[in-house]
């Protein structure tokens, strides 16, 4: 075994240890800093870890969003882990919340103005309720001062059993619809 392979292996092992211990989503930059390697190298290690996890004798997977990654169980083991479902997800979606969260899922990060325009109704209360339930999160809108953009949380991705937002069924098809005016 040459040195490179050993390093590769060590980095997969360290990644696994870090993601396990940290628990929450962590930025790839932070991991790189901690492991004292380049960001690109960290990304390669993450890809390697992800490949390992695809094996049938592994029960875990990686979840990606923005520049962050989190380790979680594979959805095929849901039946063993019922007791871990959060209260906030057990409650069903009302028509208003479903309208809003689907739009955020396929078009996020998206502004409230666009959500309001699409639904034809002021969405501030629906958004607030989804934020409180931890189903969506808001980011500052860099283009508009004081504005926010909304997207799904890691918790939502996990609850839906997908490892990144692009894994939503027919993501490309809906993403490309001109649902919202470019105004």
């Amino acid at each position: 075994m040459d040195n490179n392979t050993i390093n590769q292996q060590n980095s997969i092992a360290s990644l696994e240890a870090i993601l396990f211990a940290y628990g929450e989503p962590i930025t790839i930059n932070k991991i790189a800093k901690l492991l004292n390697v380049e960001i690109d190298e960290t990304k390669i290690s993450l890809e390697n870890l992800q490949k390992e996890l695809e094996s049938e004798n592994r029960g875990l997977r990686l979840i990606f969003s923005d520049n962050k990654v989190q380790m979680a169980t594979k959805p095929e083991f849901s039946h063993l882990l019922e007791e871990f479902i959060k209260e906030e997800f057990k409650e069903s979606l009302t028509p208003a919340t479903l309208e809003t969260i689907s739009l955020i899922a396929y078009f996020g990060p998206i502004s409230r103005a666009k959500i309001d325009y699409f639904r034809g109704v002021n969405s501030s209360f629906t958004l607030r309720s989804l934020l409180m339930r931890g189903l969506i999160e808001r980011l500052e809108d860099k283009k508009e001062h004081g504005g926010y953009l909304y997207q799904l949380t890691f918790d939502s991705l996990k609850y839906l059993g997908i490892s990144k937002i692009e894994d939503l069924p027919e993501f490309e098809k809906y993403k490309n619809l001109s649902v919202i005016n470019n105004n």
């Binding site: 628990g23 929450e24 979840i63 169980t73 979606l93 009302t94 699409f118 109704v121 996990k158």
Partner: protein, 231 residues
């Protein structure tokens, strides 16, 4: 959950509702089909008024466009200006776009309900807490955090109270029609004489409202003739 959770709207937005009404009648999205569903939409508006008053203002915006469409179908003398024509086109366009996106909601709902999920671990779950304060952990930064929390919180309360004015207008117009009928006026064209287009639309909404409540009867002898109001 518990008492502090916000009550969320149990109702779809106006665009969704309107589309639903058109689809129920198995019609395409056209001016004609929109004119067909006005009464149903106004009926639904009453449910909203009672159960989700917060959403009412937005429903009225859509309702007023619908009434414009209906008025145009019924009152051939009514000429729409450019802005109103744009409004109607915009409504049709939005309905079409909504219809295109709508299937994704069913997909999302199914995924949400199927109970096929991943579980992650809590933040640093194998560690014991250690006291790590921070440079900005002090009394004055906490005081200013409280100030901004409650500023935002009170704005939210104000936002819920902004919907009243529109309603009062409709109420006024209903009373106006009742008074006119009582003073002997029986034609809708007399009621709307010298009124602005916007007012005519609201008057028409009021007329439909009275009709629904069965407080008046109306007759229209020709397809596009004047409307005769009877008590």
């Amino acid at each position: 959950m518990n008492v502090y959770q916000l009550k969320t709207e149990k109702f779809s937005g106006p665009i969704e509702k309107l589309l639903e009404l058109i689809e129920e009648k198995k019609m395409e999205i056209t001016e004609l089909s929109l004119a067909e569903v006005v009464a149903d939409f106004l009926n639904y508006l009453k449910t909203i008024e009672k159960k989700e008053p917060r959403m009412l203002a937005d429903f009225i915006v859509v309702a007023s466009r619908l009434i414009l469409i209906k008025s145009k179908a019924l009152l051939p003398t009514l000429e729409l200006n450019e802005e109103e024509k744009e409004d109607i086109k915009d409504l049709e366009e939005r309905l079409r776009r909504y219809a295109e996106f709508k299937p994704s909601m069913a997909i999302f709902k199914k995924l949400f309900e199927v109970n096929n999920f991943s579980v992650s671990r809590q933040f640093l779950s194998n560690h014991e807490p250690i006291f790590y304060p921070a440079d900005n952990f002090n009394v004055s930064s906490m005081q200013s955090a409280m100030k901004s929390i409650f500023e935002i919180f009170s704005q939210l309360t104000i936002e819920t109270k902004k919907i009243e004015p529109e309603l009062i207008k409709l109420e006024d117009k209903i009373n106006e029609i009742i008074k006119k009928i009582e003073s002997g006026i029986a034609k809708f064209s007399d009621v709307t004489k010298e009124k602005s287009r916007r007012e005519i639309v609201i008057l028409f909404l009021a007329l439909l409202h009275l009709l629904k409540e069965q407080l008046i009867k109306v007759e229209q002898n020709e397809g596009i003739g004047d409307i005769i109001i009877k008590k």
